[in-house]
C-alpha cells in the first residue's frame, strides 16, 4: 500500500520542508548538549573504559620477556624445555638487567608461583657468570628450580595478554599450575570477607536510613509550611556541610573520651575504665554512614509523600479502615516508589563509600572501597584495583537490574 506524498504549499514534500524548518532547532539542541556530552565522555566514559581495560590487561610479562615466550611456543610443557628456551630467558633477563627493570616481573611471577622471587633475583645476580652455550645446564646450576618443570610451566602461564586472574583474586580464587580455578589457601582468603562486610554494611545502613527517614519524611510532608521548612533545613543542613567535616565531627563524638562515651559512663551503662569502643570498628561506620546518607533517603520519600493527598487516608478511615489498615493498604503502597528510590540510592552510595569508613571504620570497619584505594595508592596494583572497581560497578548494575525486575525502574521517583 503506497501512501500518497503530502506536499506543502510550495510543492516540496511536507516531510522535507518540516525537516528544513526543524533543522535550526535541532542544531541548537545539539550545541546545548555538546559541552556536557564531551565532559562526560572525557571525564567519565574514557576513565571507566580504561579501568575495564586495565583490569584484564596482562601484557606486561609478555612485553618484558618477548624472546622467552616466542621460544616456548614449540614446547609441550611436559618435560624440561630445550636449549633455545633457556637461551631466550638469558637474553631477556640480560636486557632487563641492563635497563634495571627486572623488578617489575618479580611480583607478577611470584604471584603466579611463589619462589620466583628468589629464583629471578639470584639468576639476575649471577647473570654475568653465564657463558655462551649450554645455557640449560648453567641455569640449573645457578638455581635448581630452573630444573623443575612446574616453574617453567608457571612462567608460561604468565604469557597470555588478557587474563581475568585479577577478578579471581577479588573473590579469593586463583589459577593453579594446570589452569584450573581453585580457592586460595584459607589463611589468605580476605576479599570474600570484605565483600560480605561491604554488602552487610550497605544493607544495614540502608535499613537504618529507611527506619529513621520514613517518619521524618511523613512529618515533613504533612506539617504546615512554616514548621516543615525549618525541619527541612535541619535535614539538609548536614547535606550542605562538607563530608569531611561531618565525618570528623563523628570522630570527636565517638572517640573513647568523647561526649557519647562520657554520657554512657555517666548513665552507668559502662565503667569509666572500660569505655566501649564506638569508633575504628563497624559501629563507627554504621553510625556515621547512616547519618551522612540519611538525606538521600529523606528527599525521595518526602517528594513522594508530598504528592499523596491527605484526603486518601481520610477516605480510608471514613470507609471503615482503622488507622493501621488505612496506612498499610493505602498510604504505604503509595510510598513504594519513594522507598525504592531512596533505598536504591542509599545502598548504591553505601556500597562504594570511601572516606567515612576510612576515617572511622578502622580495620574491622573498612570496606571494599578502602581496599581499592589501598591498591591504587600503596600497593600500586592498579590492575587489581580496577578489577575490584569493575566488580563493584557490575554489582551495582546487577542491583539496579533486580530492582527493575521487581519494582520497575519507571516506578522510581527522585523528586
Amino acid at each position: 500500500m503506497s501512501k500518497e506524498q503530502i506536499l506543502s504549499s510550495d510543492g516540496i514534500p511536507l516531510e522535507q520542508s518540516l525537516k528544513k524548518a526543524e533543522r535550526k532547532n535541532k542544531l541548537k539542541a545539539v550545541l546545548l548538549v555538546a559541552p556536557l556530552f564531551l565532559f562526560i565522555l572525557i571525564i567519565y566514559v574514557f576513565p571507566i573504559g580504561d579501568m575495564l581495560f586495565r583490569s584484564v590487561d596482562d601484557r606486561m610479562i609478555t612485553k618484558m620477556l618477548p624472546k622467552t615466550f616466542k621460544a616456548m611456543e614449540s614446547w609441550d610443557g611436559q618435560d624440561l624445555p630445550d636449549e633455545p628456551v633457556y637461551k631466550a630467558i638469558y637474553e631477556d633477563l640480560k636486557y632487563l638487567k641492563e635497563n634495571k627493570t627486572y623488578g617489575k616481573i618479580i611480583a607478577r611471577l611470584n604471584y603466579e608461583k611463589s619462589g620466583f622471587s628468589s629464583l629471578i633475583k639470584k639468576t639476575v645476580r649471577k647473570l654475568k657468570k653465564i657463558e655462551e652455550g649450554n645455557y640449560k645446564e648453567q641455569f640449573i646450576k645457578i638455581h635448581k628450580r630452573w630444573g623443575q618443570p612446574e616453574y617453567l610451566v608457571a612462567l608460561r602461564n604468565a604469557a597470555p595478554n588478557w587474563s581475568y586472574a585479577k577478578y579471581l583474586k577479588g573473590v579469593d580464587m586463583r589459577f593453579d599450575q594446570n589452569k584450573n580455578i581453585v580457592q586460595v589457601e584459607e589463611d589468605r582468603r580476605i576479599y570474600k570477607i570484605l565483600w560480605m562486610r561491604t554488602i552487610n554494611v550497605a544493607f544495614w545502613v540502608t535499613l537504618f536510613c529507611f527506619v529513621l527517614a520514613y517518619p521524618i519524611s511523613h512529618l515533613l510532608a504533612t506539617l504546615p509550611m512554616k514548621y516543615s521548612n525549618l525541619l527541612m533545613i535541619c535535614v539538609l543542613l548536614p547535606f550542605w556541610t562538607s563530608l569531611l567535616v561531618r565525618t570528623s565531627s563523628w570522630m570527636v563524638l565517638l572517640q573513647q573520651q568523647g561526649p557519647i562515651n562520657d554520657l554512657i559512663v555517666w548513665l552507668g551503662l559502662a565503667a569509666d575504665d572500660n569505655r566501649p569502643e564506638l569508633m575504628y570498628n563497624v559501629i563507627g561506620t554504621f553510625v556515621a554512614m547512616t547519618q551522612i546518607l540519611l538525606p538521600f533517603m529523606v528527599l525521595p520519600l518526602y517528594s513522594v509523600m508530598k504528592t499523596i493527598s491527605p484526603s486518601l487516608m481520610r477516605a480510608g478511615k471514613s470507609l471503615g479502615g482503622t488507622p493501621l489498615v488505612s496506612f498499610v493498604k493505602i498510604y504505604f503502597p503509595l510510598t513504594i516508589p519513594g522507598i525504592g528510590a531512596g533505598c536504591l540510592l542509599v545502598f548504591i552510595l553505601a556500597i562504594g563509600y570511601y572516606i567515612t569508613p576510612a576515617l572511622v571504620g578502622g580495620a574491622s570497619g573498612s570496606l571494599i572501597s578502602n581496599t581499592i584505594a589501598y591498591h591504587m595508592k600503596s600497593s600500586l596494583d592498579w590492575a587489581f584495583a580496577s578489577a575490584l572497581g569493575t566488580m563493584l560497578l557490575v554489582g551495582v548494575l546487577a542491583i539496579y537490574w533486580v530492582y527493575n525486575k521487581l519494582v520497575g525502574i519507571d516506578n522510581i521517583k527522585l523528586g
Partner: protein, 361 residues
C-alpha cells in the same frame, strides 16, 4: 422520613488556633433521609462542620449527635459515615473494584456478598464493566461517580459530600447534580452536602443552611431561601439582588416607609427593620421589578438605562434608579420590547411585599 434530628449539632464551637472561632455556637438539626446543603463562601465554616461530623476534626465545644448518640468520642472509622471528597480521593493504586470493595473488606463481608454490593453500587452510577480500570484511566466524571458509589457501597445511613462537583466542567456538573439527586431519592440515604455554588444547592437540596462567619444565617427550603431571605447576607448571596440603603421613617401594619439616602421614600416589607428610625438595607429581586407596569404597584419610579446586556433568553438592564446606579432589571426577550436603548428613561414599578427591609450592611 423518620428521625427528626438524625444529625444534631448542639452549640458547636470550633477554633483552630485559640484566637478565632471558625464555627460559632452552631445549632443544626437534620432529618433522616433529608438532603441538606451547607452553602456559604469559602472560610465560612461549612467544610469544618462537615469534617467534625466525619470525625476528622473535634469540636472545641458543644456536642454532635448522630442517631441520638454523641459521636465526639467515636473515631472516624467507626462512625459508618460515607464520604465523597473534593478531589474524589480514589485510591490510585487500586482498581475500581478494589476501591469499592475496600469498605466491605475491612468490614469482613464475604466475597460473594461483597461482589453483589459492588455490582449494585456500580449499576447505581451506571459504571458496570469498569471494575478492572484504574482510577487514572477514568475521566473526571467517571471518577466522581466511582467516588459516589464507593461512599454508598457499604450502605451507610449518612453520606457527606464535600464540594464533590467542584472539579467538573459546567455541563457535566449539571448532569451529575441530577444524578446525585436521583440516587438520593431512590435509596433514601441522608446526605449532607457542602458547596459554595448556589445553583447546585438550589437544584439538589431539601433544605439549605447558608453559612457565613461561622454561623448558620438561614436554614430553609430552596424557594423559601430565595423568595424570603431573612437577612442581607442571604439576600445578597443567593441569586441576584438589588439594594437600597435607607432608614425606616414610618411603619403601618405589613408595610413600612423607607427614606432612602437620596431623600425619596419607598414602600417596603418590614422583615428585620420594624421600628421607626432603624437603618436598613432594602432588597429587591431583579425579576420582581417591572417596566411600565400595567397594574397599579406600590412603588413607581423613573430610571435611566445605563447599559444593555444581551443574554440570549433575556436582556439585562443596568439602570440608574433612586441613586442606585447598579440597579439590575431582567427583561424577557420578546418582540414587544425592542425599544430598550441606553440613555432612555423608563418607568419601573414593584410591590412592597417583594421589597424586603433587612438589616443594614
Amino acid at each position: 422520613m423518620g428521625n427528626d434530628h438524625f444529625v444534631r449539632f448542639e452549640n458547636v464551637d470550633k477554633s483552630y488556633d485559640g484566637k478565632q472561632l471558625v464555627v460559632k455556637g452552631l445549632n443544626l438539626d437534620i432529618e433522616e433521609g433529608e438532603f441538606v446543603t451547607m452553602l456559604g463562601p469559602s472560610g465560612s465554616g461549612k467544610t469544618t462542620c462537615l469534617m467534625m461530623l466525619a470525625g476528622f476534626e473535634t469540636p472545641t465545644n458543644g456536642q454532635i449527635y448522630l442517631d441520638n448518640k454523641v459521636i465526639s468520642d467515636i473515631p472516624p472509622h467507626k462512625r459508618g459515615i460515607g464520604m465523597v471528597f473534593q478531589n474524589y480521593a480514589l485510591f490510585p493504586h487500586m482498581t475500581v473494584y478494589e476501591n469499592l470493595a475496600f469498605p466491605l473488606r475491612v468490614r469482613k463481608i464475604p466475597k460473594d456478598e461483597a461482589d453483589k454490593k459492588v455490582d449494585k453500587a456500580l449499576s447505581m452510577v451506571s459504571l458496570q464493566g469498569f471494575e478492572a480500570r484504574m482510577p487514572m484511566q477514568l475521566s473526571g466524571g467517571q471518577q466522581q461517580r466511582v467516588a459516589v458509589a464507593r461512599s454508598l457501597v457499604f450502605d451507610p445511613k449518612l453520606v457527606l459530600m464535600d464540594e464533590p462537583l467542584g472539579a467538573l466542567d459546567k455541563n457535566l456538573r449539571e448532569s451529575m447534580q441530577y444524578e446525585i439527586k436521583h440516587i438520593h431519592e431512590s435509596i433514601g440515604v441522608t446526605v449532607v452536602y457542602v458547596t459554595h455554588d448556589q445553583t447546585e444547592a438550589l437544584t439538589m437540596s431539601n433544605r439549605i443552611a447558608v453559612f457565613n462567619d461561622g454561623k448558620v444565617q438561614q436554614l430553609s427550603s430552596p424557594d423559601e431561601l430565595y423568595e424570603r431571605p431573612v437577612n442581607s447576607f442571604v439576600a445578597e448571596f443567593i441569586g441576584e439582588n438589588n439594594t437600597f440603603a435607607g432608614e425606616v421613617s414610618d411603619v403601618e401594619g405589613d408595610k413600612c416607609k423607607i427614606k432612602l439616602n437620596s431623600g425619596i421614600e419607598i414602600l417596603a416589607n418590614p422583615i428585620v427593620a420594624k421600628s421607626k428610625g432603624e437603618k436598613t438595607t432594602v432588597s429587591l429581586r431583579p425579576e420582581r421589578a417591572l417596566i411600565d407596569p400595567e397594574s397599579e404597584m406600590d412603588n413607581n419610579h423613573k430610571g435611566k438605562i445605563e447599559e444593555v446586556i444581551y443574554h440570549g433568553d433575556h436582556t439585562r438592564l443596568r439602570v440608574d434608579l433612586l441613586g442606585n446606579k447598579e440597579f439590575i432589571l431582567k427583561v424577557p426577550n420578546s418582540s414587544s420590547r425592542m425599544d430598550i436603548k441606553e440613555g432612555k428613561e423608563i418607568n419601573i414599578g414593584w410591590n412592597s411585599v417583594d421589597c424586603r427591609a433587612l438589616d443594614p450592611k
